[in-house]
Symmetry: C2
Subunit: 693 residues, 2 copies
């Protein structure tokens, strides 16, 4: 953890600029909380009009203090806040938490905010905010926040950390978790992220050895290297991260811009990045906290096979449906297990999996406790769902809950409970089991928990490389010959071809390459040739080739494009046209796209994203996620495609994109077939940037 962010998370002393006697004002709440939640360091109200605020001695100005505080809360608005920030820098405050709104989230406010933050940073002051609700560490009592939530849902220190841009989203998950009895140590809101970003703070919070679950709310990820660093720290510490990244849609991005000044990220790049770093992406507030209890139990899922047990057949059916939908199989229990269950349960009960105890449980509450040890010994399960949708009078619910807890302890495997009735839910929850109100909710949380562990296991080693800056010159197109040459140099298999200036050279190329050939006009001014009549296919005779050269020359002239020759290329056959594309995301850097090719690439998109660095395994996994994956594997008696050369080509493109001078590239089509020699790039466009003059 950097020293400056240690002062944010664990300050020794705190000043509140704009301290208020009223604990319901922004400048009053932090004082209330620092006193109420046991902060042991010095607290200094700053108020020019009062000698004492909330029982603490106040001074008029920050400079009146004997010593600069580690952290200053700036609870004054507008220009006064800017002045206070400068004052913090002047006296040597380490971190300022700036609560004032009206900066980067307003039209034209971004530049002013950046300038203000840069000025502070240059003088050694880190800034959280502006537009921040504040920081809250319940491990130390350093609660420099004005959130109302800490009054409404009193804190308890615990193993969860929350780092959020939004104030509300720093405390809504807190409130939901506290309502379920889970302790939360950190609840930080970074606001506009003018200096300290939510990702940088998360990387520091991840170092807290007391944490076992880290939750993030992000509206933008301008600094993925910080998030990668947080992920690396978390992975090393076995700390799962669940992130809710909003601004998925244009409407959401517009709202985020006017909320925290957040700039839009391409959403499926965000998906790919989070996946690469082992971070589970939640889709909604509820999702963010849904599986918290599972993470905190310390279970290590070994697989996805679910065994469901209920006194309701409907719960069995719904759980089986929900599990199947997320790829969790229900395997039949062993014959021996089933035989033992049949000696306990009524004849009409189901014993295969799901296990339906039936309404006989009403007559005999002991059935539940009797079958669980039998099932615990069965080898068919990696995880369990216990459903008690209806119970109460006539049932020994406390015994069910005790039996289920003992079962969970005995198996050491994840157990979720479906219990929509509040009383039944409370009994199971009191025994430490994760309880859900529907079969779907229980299965989804279990699936998230298991799939997240799978994700963490296969996540790429985090390499938080600092972003490389592209040359400052304007973007320019390489022509097809240059593009293909660049790809060939990078190791991609490229169709045999010659760049020819004249008809004579083209005819010679026909001889050399063998008929038939394609003739294509070559110009750095023309990325899309076919619309301009610059592509002539299947030429077998010298006359035809010569005519094609003339037509290309004419076509380019008509388009006002430079004539840089024609490409004469062998006509080759493949079974399918794929594509490889790459571009540079303003935040995430190189992005490689692979997919099905052909005429309808935009209308019928079928592509997957890869973020360099990646290896052949990641490419194969991406291919397996394409819609056309069954065809690549071979259907209707067709042989499978040979894809090693294609996979190697994609890896080569990934490496090529490490060169910051390459802005984007498009290899389309690249043929593939049933043997590796069929893999050939037929056409390509590369856009480069040169150094500025």
């Amino acid at each position: 953890m950097t020293a400056s962010l240690k002062a944010a998370l664990d300050p020794c002393s705190i000043a509140v600029i704009g301290a208020s006697e009223n604990p319901n004002k922004i400048g009053g709440r932090p004082l209330l909380y620092l006193s109420r939640f046991g902060f042991r360091g010095a607290v200094h109200p700053i108020n020019p009009n009062r000698g004492e605020v909330q029982g603490l001695r106040a001074v008029p100005r920050l400079s009146d203090l004997d010593e600069a505080p580690d952290l200053a809360v700036i609870a004054v608005p507008g220009e006064a806040a800017v002045a206070a920030l400068d004052e913090c820098a002047a006296v040597g405050v380490k971190v300022a938490v700036m609560m004032a709104s009206g900066f980067g989230e307003t039209a034209g406010g971004k530049a002013r905010e950046a300038e203000m933050a840069a000025r502070a940073r240059a003088r050694g002051l880190r800034v959280v905010g502006p537009n921040s609700q504040g920081l809250a560490n319940f491990g130390t009592g350093a609660v420099a926040s004005f959130s109302t939530m800490f009054i409404e849902a009193p804190p308890a220190d615990g193993p969860v950390g929350i780092v959020s841009q939004s104030g509300a989203m720093s405390v809504v998950p807190y409130g939901l978790l506290r309502g379920r009895g889970i302790g939360v140590r950190h609840a930080h809101a970074t606001g506009n992220d003018a200096d300290v970003t939510v990702c940088e703070l998360a990387a520091s919070v991840a170092e807290d050895p007391g944490l076992r679950l880290l939750l993030l709310y992000l509206e933008s990820i301008p600094d993925p290297h910080h998030l990668a660093q947080a992920a690396a720290v978390a992975r090393a510490r076995d700390l799962p991260i669940v992130a809710l990244k909003s601004g998925r849609t244009p409407a959401g991005q517009a709202a985020a811009l006017s909320h925290t000044g957040a700039l839009a990220n391409e959403d499926r790049v965000v998906d790919a990045f989070l996946e690469q770093h082992g971070i589970w992406r939640a889709r909604d507030t509820g999702d963010l906290v849904a599986a918290a209890e599972l993470y905190l139990k310390g279970w290590r899922p070994a697989g996805r096979r679910l065994v469901a047990i209920s006194n309701s057949g409907a719960t069995c059916v719904l759980a089986a449906d929900a599990a199947s939908a997320v790829g969790m199989p229900l395997e039949p229990l062993a014959a021996d297990t089933q035989a033992r269950l049949r000696t306990i349960l009524p004849s009409f009960a189901a014993t295969a999996n799901p296990v339906d105890i039936t309404a006989a449980l009403l007559t005999n509450s002991r059935l539940f406790g009797e079958i669980l040890p039998v099932i615990a010994a069965d080898p068919s399960a990696d995880a369990f769902l216990i459903g008690v949708p209806v119970a109460g009078q006539g049932y020994d619910v406390p015994a069910f809950a005790r039996d289920a807890a003992a079962f969970a302890a005995e198996t050491g495997k994840p157990v979720v409970v479906n219990a929509p009735q509040p009383g039944v839910a409370a009994a199971f929850r009191d025994q430490g089991l994760p309880v859900f109100a529907s079969e779907g909710g229980a299965v989804q949380a279990l699936h998230q928990f298991i799939a997240h562990h799978e994700l963490i296991a296969r996540a790429a080693p985090a390499v938080p490389a600092p972003p490389r800056r592209a040359p400052a010159g304007p973007a320019r197109l390489l022509n097809e010959a240059e593009s293909l040459a660049r790809l060939a140099a990078a190791g991609l298999p490229v169709v045999p071809h010659r760049l020819c200036r004249s008809a004579e050279e083209a005819v010679a190329a026909l001889d050399a390459l063998g008929a038939p050939v394609a003739v294509k006009g070559c110009s750095r001014d023309v990325p899309h040739k076919s619309d301009l009549g610059l592509v002539h296919l299947g030429l077998r005779e010298p006359d035809g080739v010569a005519r094609a050269v003339a037509a290309c020359r004419d076509g380019l002239a008509r388009a006002g494009a430079a004539y840089e020759g024609v490409i004469v290329a062998a006509m080759v056959q493949g079974r399918r046209e794929l594509l490889i594309g790459a571009h540079r995301d303003p935040s995430f850097g190189p992005v490689v796209v692979i997919g099905d090719g052909g005429r309808y690439v935009e209308a019928l998109p079928d592509s997957q994203i890869l973020l360099p660095p990646f290896g052949p395994e990641a490419v194969r996994a991406a291919l397996a996620r394409l819609r056309i994956a069954p065809i690549l594997a071979g259907v209707r008696g067709e042989p499978p495609f040979a894809l090693d050369a294609f996979v190697a080509a994609v890896c080569a493109v990934g490496r090529l994109m490490e060169d910051p001078a390459i802005d984007s590239l498009d290899v389309n089509p690249i043929l593939v077939g049933t043997d590796e020699t069929a893999c050939l790039a037929l056409d390509a466009v590369i856009v480069v940037r040169d150094p500025a003059d």
Copy 2:
């Protein structure tokens, strides 16, 4: 409502066979409930060993009663239950509710159950169950059920009806609704549906004029005509139906078979059927009740445009994302509205939509009440989301709730509230507003409510046609010539072709049709020709045609298939190959499938289902849902496809399937192009059934 089901829902007198003194036994609960919940009719405990049960005079046998009761609860198990059922039939009981398990849900039990039910039915006795938890009508107090839920969550009569196969799923939604203060009139569980099915009972329940929302839980739909009837009654009464149909997946279907003996339905046929009848399909227990408050408010949504208002920018962003994801646009508020909002809100607040009040609400609670009337007057909204993710001390939450309720009343438009804090939620709920714990939950419920109304508006007039029985003979293939002739007779455009017995006839056909032609071996024994070398394309010369005829003759002989001639067909060009298929679902009857054609129909499925009867509009809507819809509409400068002839062909297939002798058909490919004459069926296979000998 049939008289017999009136006795199920509103009986004048009830006997309980196997009446128990213990209210926690299956035979004790109904007596407890009939007494506790105010049933005014006669109640007769039947018990051979006691003169009095739970304070009521008991008689040993049903035949000891002076008069047959309307309804008898059979609370004895196994063979005693079967005997009791026969006794009910003998004395003239109208409806028996059979609670015993161990019938159709067990291996081999289906036939025995059907026989038992048929015997009762033949004597005028309707049977609910077996394996039924019972019927509960809180409007009359006729609660002939043993569910524990009615002790745990005391009833209140209200506008919701629940009809379920499963006992648990008849009361879990009940419990969730009661927990939210919503009254429930009906909570019926039909069990194995040996006679009265959940759909038939639902059709009767739908007639209750007190209902404003009907919820169904189904594990199987063997009698769609009953469900169609329920839908027709409900539509006439403006009663929305939400259904949870489980057994979506093979694992769920297996579990349903051993729960209620439910047979599997093809899940996407279920989807299409429910949609056709205006029934919203819930995906989980939570879904089933999520939007209940919205239905009960009596709102009439006029469109999908959402306006979101919150004191949290994150709620604004998350609501915008969630709304966009379900196709609900956020349009900017009118300039005038925004100008007025800017006079009220701080300068850094967002006024376009979403409206972000910001944390300034903490300092000034009146902001909320001041902006709502301004927004109410704006024309840009069809529905509203109000998000108060954090409030409490320092905020005037009761005023927010009152203001929001007044706003909802003034606009008459749907309003949902996102309030994850229990105290804040309670304040809004007390004002009669639907409250949710997350932005996603609120938007999803609102979307369901609006999309369901759209669904009801476009639902086909319900035509509960009794299923027509197919001829009993075995299925047999028509050959290609017969199949094409049948299609042509039905009005489909079919490729010009001749059926020829000899090479001479084939050569004459070449002359008549013009070169090139296709020659295909024709045999009722061979549905798939290309694998056997029976398809010869692009023939231009008499020699080639003659050789093709010989090759077809040889190929059929080698395959041991009858030679019924060759089809000589014109070779025609179209821009794309589509397909039309049809089959007969064992429950739902005719199912028509349309989709993209070509080699990879199975590997890359892109098809939609239509249930006859349907018209051209439904076909066009189905085409618009295909993945290839953009291509059909014209992309990359291509002209759109002319699809009137194809749409008419699909409608013709729908009518053709009204003939129960047609088992299935497959028109693949059927060409389409840019003018209507391009629409031609190139190949077809029809499977028919003949009357039994």
